[in-house]
Symmetry: C2
Subunit: 223 residues, 2 copies
């Protein structure tokens, strides 16, 4: 990781980015957190993010980008016309969860805030299990964005992915070490009153806790 | 320029991007145009953009990103607290017109639309006179964003800057050849009822027409 001090965390309120937030605070970095509302069904993740930041006394901004939704076509996360597919990410149906250029949009907003704050870097919770269906989870994409971030201002901003060599099970283990309140984090794509336990995101969450035998405090609709 | 067919144009309603739009249509490309409302004082440029697209029968989207303004600090274009400086870009005071990470934000939105439309490229009106005070006008920045755009989806999106080797005077000349309705375009940073004739953007507009002796149809407050 490059030598940086102050970091803006791209923060969804899920288990990966919550663990990242705890991890960076534990390492002594001053942090601020930013969440994006892009019309996702599971906007309850933003409430989880706000509540956890309040507990941590971390400044949190939630930015409303719903004006871009009409540009994003027919994906199942921001369009109400398309159902969220169930099952694992390997399946063809999961392509419906691809939101066009989502990562570049989110990173651009976080970088703008970092430039304005004169912070050194932004960090996000990319991990080794990010799925082959998401083109903007490729390492080459992140490297190009890191280069652009270094050039977008006279002060260089770095793009950090501290968990890129961990899988989701490893992140759960790291979170458990750090005392992350997993019961407050939100993962499910459906955005119902409790986690559905059946969408791709829930399947992975369940497996992540199971991998190293960590207790899963989540209430699932199907359990 | 890479071989591409359909192009989304990042369209401000100014003389450079209007000439770009005419230039790409003249070259036979199917085009759509996108403008961004980021709280700029001179939001009247968006009305100019919409009116010109209507004349050309080009689909035009105006995207409201004003939710990001609180992240952008104290620049003179999106903050009402800071006055627009007068005079040439060479001056120190022009640094107030730097909007943090503006180009990455705009390009990200245009690229998202291009991915969704299955278009081949986006184009914007970068030119050789883009100023040393704007870090995100550096060619290396544009090259990094072009690389990221090629990787953000399984289909490659290209980032085109067809006027990058022209200066603003050359663009005025090209626009005159193409019959661009310059009187409908908007440049002034002040956003008053007519162009102020004194801000950096107006100074450049005046000089661009003068460079090759092209008639300037603009009404300036100070003339």
């Amino acid at each position: 990781m490059p030598s940086v001090d102050k970091i803006v965390v791209v923060y969804s309120g899920g288990m990966d980015s919550t663990t990242l937030l705890y991890h960076l605070i534990d390492a002594g970095h001053p942090v601020k957190a930013i969440s994006i509302h892009y019309g996702q069904r599971h906007a309850c993740e933003l409430e989880a993010a706000a509540a956890i930041c309040q507990t941590l006394d971390v400044e949190h901004r939630s930015v409303d980008l719903t004006a871009i939704v009409p540009l994003l076509g027919n994906n199942s996360l921001s369009s109400r016309k398309t159902a969220v597919p169930e099952g694992h990410y390997q399946e063809e149906s999961m392509k419906l969860t691809v939101v066009p250029n989502r990562n570049m949009l989110f990173l651009s907003v976080a970088i703008a805030w970092a430039v304005s704050l004169r912070y050194d870097a932004i960090a996000y919770g990319a991990h080794s299990g990010d799925h082959a269906i998401y083109p903007d989870c490729r390492p080459e994409f992140a490297e190009a964005m890191d280069r652009a971030a270094q050039l977008c201002d006279w002060r260089s901003i770095r793009l950090l992915r501290p968990f890129v060599h961990l899988d989701k099970g490893d992140i759960a283990q790291r979170g458990a070490e750090l005392g992350v309140p997993f019961e407050q984090t939100w993962t499910c794509y459906q955005g119902g009153p409790v986690h559905c336990g059946r969408c791709g995101a829930c399947c992975e969450r369940i497996e992540a806790f199971a991998q190293h035998g960590i207790a899963d405090p989540t209430q699932y609709a199907s359990s």
